[in-house]
Amino acid sequence: QGKKDSVTLALTLEPPGLDPTAGAASSIAEVTLYNIYETLTKINPDGSVSPLLAESWEVSPDLKTYTFRLRKGLSFHNGEPFNAAAVKFSFDRAGGDKSTNKDKRLFASLTTQVVDDYTVVLLNKDIEPDLLFLLGQATAIIVEPKSADTNAAKPVGTGPYQLTAWSRGASITLTAWPQWRQAAAIKIRRASFRFIPDSAAQVAALLAGDVDAFARVTPRSMAQFKDNPRFQVVVSGSRAKTILAINNARKPLDDVRVRRAIAAAIDRKAVIQGAADGLGVPIGSHYVPGAFGYVDTTGINPYDPEKAKRLLAEAGVKLPLTLTMTLPPAPYARQGGEVIAAQLAKVGIVSKLQNVEWAQWLSGTYGAKNYDLTLISHVEPFDLGNFAKPDYYWGYRSPQFDQLYEKIKHAARPADRARLLGEAQRLLAEDAAHGFLYQPQWVTVAHKNLRGLWKDMPIFVNDLSALSWS
């Protein structure tokens, strides 16, 4: 009963700081985005974009000029007014020399012009069809110039909530900001986030009633809540792609037949079962159902161990072929790696599993590209462009794809884009650039009376203003 206006959410990881422009941890966004900070646009559960700090916008036909009209009369938590200057400051800062923004490259290619107090124009050097979506992400938050540098500990934004307490390692508490533009509509006055990395502890905390909702709980624990009337289980789609990344630059993986053999040796259904307890949709390329221009490519390299063996023989690979498989610490990787290793073993590929910490994965696998195979989830919504980067850790080089991608970037008409995107997906599938596995689904377990939870999750966010108790 006392619960009516407060909620306790749990997250797996604690954000290291509360400034999304200074760190990439998704937990930063999960706590702050749309709660403390706001962006010009807001991404909706279905992936569409709606106005937030910008009331409306216009896009030039060449997709290079964006004109935003800002909401009037807003202010930051510290009382400073929200205006075009703040927007310019925020974007310039994100693209500046000293910027530690993860999306620094994007902002570096933008030029922000202040037209008047409530109108800004963004000029983009490149074409970025998803710019409006990108401007709704945590890296694009609008910050207040004077407080920007201390946001990590004392966040100041325009959002409906303010930070009241942060006991590091344990919890963060947000309370509703009374001066927010629609403060009356806010049902949850006080929300706290707890951080519970241990999966058994996650289950215990939910069962014991310590937390009301757990976003993206370890899928394996879901089963025990599905049949429990005290809880609701929300399974949501995502834009993430879990793949068995293949180092295309290494022998014999540079041979497309070997990569196809690997792809054919993988039974995606079993992988989804093992890695995510069945919570995933198979994908055949680096693109997910529900995204613009998706085509089903799962039939291109179907599960066929016999074919895999044939392909390996064709490629003249001496069996058993020993490959290292580097696994970051996430459960999906560790669990999925075990399953895939068992499947590859059946076609004569011995995978030596190497479990690494994130730090090691980032410096050894991602940075130094020292790996054969690695299991990883790429959560960025639109990242086909990585296949066109020559120095990316995948080592994938394809002039055909580069051309295609160049065209996609400049295709202003949706129909053209959709066609080109489809072509790109098929190309990647045929090239078997990676072992494309599945689109993960996120599981949220919550008290049965909690309303307003996001059904789908194109980005990681916990929109507190939408929550209420029934």
Partner: protein, 320 residues
């Protein structure tokens, strides 16, 4: 006595200095750095480089070691890379949990172990002895994280007497208070204490039995003391001598054991801070925490040595 204390202090400082060098260089070898971890795989390389420079990671190792030592002496430990908050502040926050937790479980350990050990020794080879020592065997044989989960299962999920974890803090403004905080620490303390108490109980029992065999116990009985009185007045203090040593060592294990228990009960303690910080390559934090732990262990052993002298009058004249 002063010579004794002085010598112990000197070795203490030397130990800590050596420890600092080992800690620093071990951490130096860790692959990966904080900037990479903080910004993640999708970050622009320029951003990573900018962050590394901002964190001072691009300086030579020797310079950083020197700076760190100087910082240790002046109390300026720097800022955490990950939390971008002062390390001193972070550690102090965590200690507010870990120290009470360690003390609470140490107290539990002592009470349980001494009671059980003395009881078993007094009932040597009888049913009570078998029962208590059987329990102790079990206590030693069960992994403590497993025991912790069992506790949660029973007391939090089934009975809902305690919350399954978390720490409300010591002050009311953070939603906690002294009583809620103690309540939150109780189950973790029990989980931690169970194993240690089992070990200590066995040691107490055998120490008491050893002392019971000593001549002076017979002398005491010959004076007309009852078995119980002889036990309390003459045996216990002598039996404490080996027990105290083990207790000193256990305190160190207990501090380390908090890593596991803090994980199960998701408590924001020092152990988890170290664990996380290693994963995040937040080496500033790791270095200082490990040094702090080492210092505490060394200090506890130092105190044990002094305690020794307090219990056993023979030590004072004794050798270094």
């Amino acid at each position: 006595m002063t010579w004794f204390v002085l010598q112990r202090l000197l070795t203490l400082i030397a130990t800590l200095l050596g420890a600092s060098a080992v800690v620093f260089w071990v951490l130096e070898v860790l692959p990966g750095n904080a900037a990479e971890v903080l910004l993640g795989p999708d970050a622009a390389p320029e951003a990573v480089a900018a962050l590394a420079a901002q964190l001072g990671l691009d300086q030579p190792a020797l310079v950083r070691y020197g700076q760190w030592l100087a910082g240790l002496l002046t109390g300026r430990l720097g800022d955490s890379h990950a939390y971008s908050a002062p390390v001193l502040h972070l550690i102090a926050e965590r200690l507010a949990l870990t120290i009470p937790l360690a003390l609470l479980s140490m107290a539990l350990t002592c009470v349980l172990a001494l009671a059980a050990g003395v009881y078993a020794a007094a009932r040597h080879s009888r049913l009570g002895d078998w029962g208590v020592m059987g329990l102790a065997q079990l206590g030693i044989a069960i992994p403590n994280f497993w025991f912790a989960i069992l506790l949660i299962l029973l007391f939090s999920v089934k009975l809902q007497w305690f919350s399954a974890g978390g720490f409300p803090g010591w002050t009311a403004e953070a939603g906690g208070g002294v009583l809620p905080a103690l309540k939150a620490l109780l189950l973790p303390a029990v989980a931690l204490a169970a194993v240690q108490a089992a070990i200590l109980a066995r040691i107490t029992r055998s120490a008491v039995l050893d002392v019971l065999r000593e001549d002076f116990v017979r002398t005491a009985r010959a004076k007309g003391l009852t078995r119980r009185a002889a036990l309390w007045r003459h045996v216990l203090r002598n039996a404490m001598i080996p027990v105290v040593t083990v207790m000193g060592l256990q305190f160190a294990n207990l501090l380390a054991g908090t890593i596991v228990v803090e994980n199960v009960f998701y408590l924001p303690g020092l152990g988890r801070l170290i664990f996380q910080s290693i994963a995040n390559r937040d080496l500033v934090v790791v270095r200082n925490c490990v040094m702090l732990l080492a210092a505490m262990v060394v200090l506890v052993n130092f105190v044990v040595d002094l305690l020794y002298a307090a219990i056993d009058p023979r030590v004072k004249v004794g050798s270094p």
